[in-house]
C-alpha cells in the first residue's frame, strides 16, 4: 500500500467534441481530506465523476492502488470507492433504514442473503451519523441536514476506504453545512477514510481540507496545502476575484474576504457606524 489513494495520469475527459478535462495529473493522498474548488463549469464535478468511473476517459488513466479503475469489476470498485452525487434522489416512500441498507449493494451477490455483518454495517453507519433514531422515518419527511446525513450513512454502509462527495453542503443552512463537514472530518480522523469532495465555499474548503485543489478551464491550477493554494493571486486567476487573505480567527487557516467595488467606502461608514449596524 502506498500513501497515494487515487492517482490521475494525464486524464482527459469530454462530452461529445468538447473537452472538459485536459490532461490532468493529480495524486490524492490516502487518509486525508481533499477539497476541489473552482469556478462554475471548470470541470470539478466532471473530475469527480471520472474518478468514480461514471465517465470514461478519452485518454489517460485513473489508478487505484496502481490498478486502472476502468479495468475493475463494478462491484469490486464499489467496495473501494463510494460516491455521493450532488443531488441524489430517494425513491418515494423509502425509510431511512431501507435507504442506508441499499449501501450494502456491492457486498451482496445476485441471490445473496442478508447477513449479520450487513446489519452490523448498517447499524454502524446509522450510529456514526447519528441517524439511528430516524431509522423508521420516511426520507422525504426529513429536514435537509438530516437527509444529507442519511445519504452519508448510506455511503458509509458501503464501507469503502475512499469517499467522493459532490458538493455535500449545497442547499443546506450554514449550521447544517458545518454539521456535515464535522461529520466527514470525524470519519476521516476515526476511520482513516480518504475523503475527496467538491466544495463551493472557499473558506469552508480551506478550513476542512488537508489538501486543496483549485481547478480552472479543465486543468489543475494549483494543488497543495490550503495556505499555499488559497492565495490572492489564485483568486484573481481562477475566479477573477480581487480578495484579501486573512487568518481564520478560530483555526488560523487562510480565509478570503472579497474586496468588491464598494469595498471600504468611508462615506458610508460615517453614515452607518459599525455599532449601529449590529
Amino acid at each position: 500500500m502506498t500513501d497515494i489513494a487515487l492517482k490521475l495520469d494525464r486524464l482527459s475527459v469530454g462530452y461529445g467534441d468538447f473537452p472538459v478535462l485536459d490532461g490532468l495529473d493529480l495524486s490524492l493522498p490516502r487518509g486525508r481530506i481533499t477539497a476541489i474548488v473552482g469556478a462554475n463549469a471548470c470541470g470539478k464535478s466532471t473530475l469527480l465523476r471520472a474518478m468514480s468511473r461514471l465517465l470514461k476517459p478519452r485518454s489517460g488513466r485513473v489508478l487505484l492502488d496502481g490498478v486502472e479503475i476502468h479495468a475493475m469489476a463494478p462491484r469490486k470498485l464499489a467496495r473501494r470507492i463510494g460516491l455521493l452525487p450532488q443531488s441524489p434522489v430517494a425513491p418515494e416512500g423509502i425509510t431511512v433504514f431501507d435507504l442506508v441498507s441499499r449501501g450494502r449493494h456491492p457486498h451482496q451477490g445476485m441471490f445473496g442473503r442478508w447477513r449479520r455483518e450487513d446489519d452490523a454495517a448498517v447499524a454502524e453507519a446509522l450510529r456514526l451519523t447519528g441517524t439511528g433514531p430516524l431509522a423508521e422515518r420516511l426520507v422525504e419527511d426529513l429536514s435537509g441536514g438530516q437527509r444529507q446525513r442519511v445519504w452519508i450513512a448510506m455511503a458509509l454502509a458501503q464501507q469503502t476506504d475512499i469517499l467522493l462527495l459532490d458538493e455535500p453542503t449545497t442547499f443546506l443552512d450554514i449550521n447544517h453545512q458545518i454539521e456535515v463537514l464535522d461529520l466527514l472530518t470525524d470519519l476521516n480522523r476515526e476511520r482513516g477514510t480518504t475523503i475527496v469532495m467538491v466544495l463551493h465555499d472557499l473558506n469552508l474548503a480551506a478550513r476542512y481540507a488537508d489538501l486543496l485543489v483549485a481547478m480552472a478551464h479543465g486543468r489543475i491550477h494549483a494543488a497543495g496545502l490550503p495556505r499555499t493554494v488559497l492565495v490572492e493571486r489564485m483568486l484573481v486567476e481562477v475566479f477573477g476575484l480581487d480578495a484579501r487573505i486573512v487568518a481564520d480567527p478560530v483555526t488560523a487557516k487562510p480565509m478570503m474576504v472579497p474586496v468588491g467595488r464598494h469595498g471600504a467606502d468611508p462615506a458610508r461608514a460615517a453614515i452607518h457606524p459599525m455599532e449601529n449596524a449590529s
Binding site: L54, P91, G93, F97, W114, R127
Partner: protein, 342 residues
C-alpha cells in the same frame, strides 16, 4: 450493540410481514381460480371440480371445466402475472407510477400489429401472436432509440412512448373501421384484452416467458432498485447500469409482449398491479413477486366478474379498464406523504 439487534429485529419483522402478504395474495389467487373453475353459466360442486381436475370422467362437467374454464383461469393467471411484473419493472425503473407499459405505449405496438394481421392479412391463430410479440418488442425498441440522446432519460422515454402510442392507437382505430364484421370481434379483442376462447396450448409460451424473463428480473431485482436512485448513485454502488437497464427493459417488454399476445392488452393491469401490491405489502422488499401475484389476482377476478357478476358479459379488459379509471385518480390524488407508493 443494541442498535444491531434493533436493526436485525426490524428486518425480521418485515420479512415476516412480507411472507404473510405474499401468502395472502397467493390464497386470493387460488380462491379466484377455484371460483372460475366452479362457477360459470352453471355452478359445479367443488367435489366434481376436484374429481375432474384429477382426471375422473364427469361427463358434461368435464368439458365445461377442462375445455372452457381451466384454460381461462390458467391464461388469466399467467398473463396477469406477466403484466404485473412487467409493469412494476417499468414503474420502478422510470420512477413514476404512471409510467407503466400500457400507458407509455409498449403494448400499443403489439395490438396494432395483431389487428393489422387480422383485418388486412386475414390471419388468425398462433401467427398473430408471434407477430404481436415481435411488433411489441420492435415498437419498444423504436421508442427506446427515439428517446436516446446520449443516454435515455426517463422523462423522454415516457413522452416518446406516449407520442408513438397515440399514433398507433389512431392507426388501430382506422384498421377497425376497415374490418369486415366477421373479424371485428377478433380484432376488438386486441383492442381491449380478453381471455374468451383461451386454449391451454397458449399457456406454454406464457409459462416460458414468465420463467425466463421473470427469473432475469428476479436476479436483477437489487440492481433494479438501486437504479431507481439515479444513474450516478447506482453506478457508485457498483451497478453496471447500461447492462442492467437493457436486461431489465428487454425482460419487462418480453413479459408484456407475450402476455399481450395471449390475452390482448388487458387495460391497466400492468399499471395497477405495482401500486396495489405496494399498498398491500407496505414496501417490504422487492415488489416484483407481489406485483406478479397481484396482476394474476386482478385478471382472474376481473374476468370472473366480467363473465358472471355483471348483467352483460364483458371481456376482462373492459372490467379492468373501468376499475382502473377511479384508481388512477386515487393514485395521483393521494397525499404524497402517505408513503407506501412506488
Amino acid at each position: 450493540m443494541s442498535l444491531v439487534a434493533d436493526i436485525a429485529s426490524l428486518r425480521q419483522g418485515r420479512r415476516r410481514k412480507r411472507r404473510m402478504g405474499l401468502a395472502a395474495l397467493a390464497a386470493a389467487l387460488m380462491a379466484g381460480i377455484a371460483l372460475t373453475l366452479a362457477v360459470g353459466q352453471s355452478v359445479t360442486p367443488p367435489l366434481t371440480v376436484m374429481a375432474t381436475l384429477l382426471g375422473v370422467d364427469t361427463g358434461g362437467d368435464a368439458f365445461t371445466i377442462r375445455v372452457l374454464r381451466l384454460p381461462r383461469a390458467v391464461i388469466s393467471a399467467l398473463a396477469g402475472a406477466c403484466f404485473g411484473m412487467g409493469g412494476v419493472t417499468f414503474q420502478t425503473l422510470l420512477r413514476n407510477p404512471l409510467a407503466s407499459p400500457d400507458i407509455i405505449g409498449i403494448s400499443s405496438g403489439a395490438s396494432a400489429a395483431a389487428v393489422f394481421c387480422i383485418v388486412m392479412l386475414h390471419l388468425s391463430g398462433t401467427i398473430v401472436s408471434v407477430v404481436a410479440v415481435a411488433a411489441g418488442l420492435g415498437v419498444a425498441l423504436l421508442i427506446y432509440l427515439l428517446a436516446w440522446k446520449g443516454g435515455a432519460a426517463g422523462a423522454r422515454l415516457i413522452l416518446v412512448g406516449i407520442g408513438i402510442s397515440a399514433m398507433l392507437q389512431s392507426f388501430t382505430a382506422y384498421l377497425l373501421t376497415q374490418a369486415p364484421s366477421w373479424s371485428l370481434q377478433q380484432a376488438l379483442r386486441w383492442m381491449t384484452g380478453s381471455v374468451n376462447g383461451a386454449e391451454l396450448g397458449q399457456a406454454l409460451p406464457l409459462l416460458l416467458a414468465l420463467g425466463i424473463f421473470g427469473s432475469v428480473l428476479l436476479a436483477l431485482r437489487r440492481d433494479l432498485e438501486t437504479l431507481a436512485m439515479g444513474d450516478d448513485m447506482a453506478a457508485g454502488l457498483g451497478v453496471p447500469i447500461g447492462l442492467v437497464r437493457i436486461g431489465v427493459v428487454v425482460a419487462a417488454v418480453g413479459l408484456v409482449a407475450f402476455a399481450t399476445a395471449a390475452a390482448g392488452p388487458v387495460a391497466f393491469v400492468a399499471f395497477l398491479s405495482g401500486p396495489v401490491a405496494a399498498r398491500l405489502l407496505r414496501r417490504n422488499g422487492s415488489l416484483l413477486m407481489p406485483a406478479a401475484l397481484t396482476g394474476a389476482v386482478l385478471v382472474v377476478t376481473a374476468d370472473f366478474a366480467g363473465q358472471v357478476l355483471l348483467p352483460a358479459r364483458y371481456p376482462v379488459g373492459i372490467v379492468t379498464g373501468v376499475l382502473g379509471a377511479p384508481f388512477l385518480v386515487l393514485l395521483i390524488a393521494r397525499d404524497n406523504r402517505s408513503g407506501g407508493s412506488l
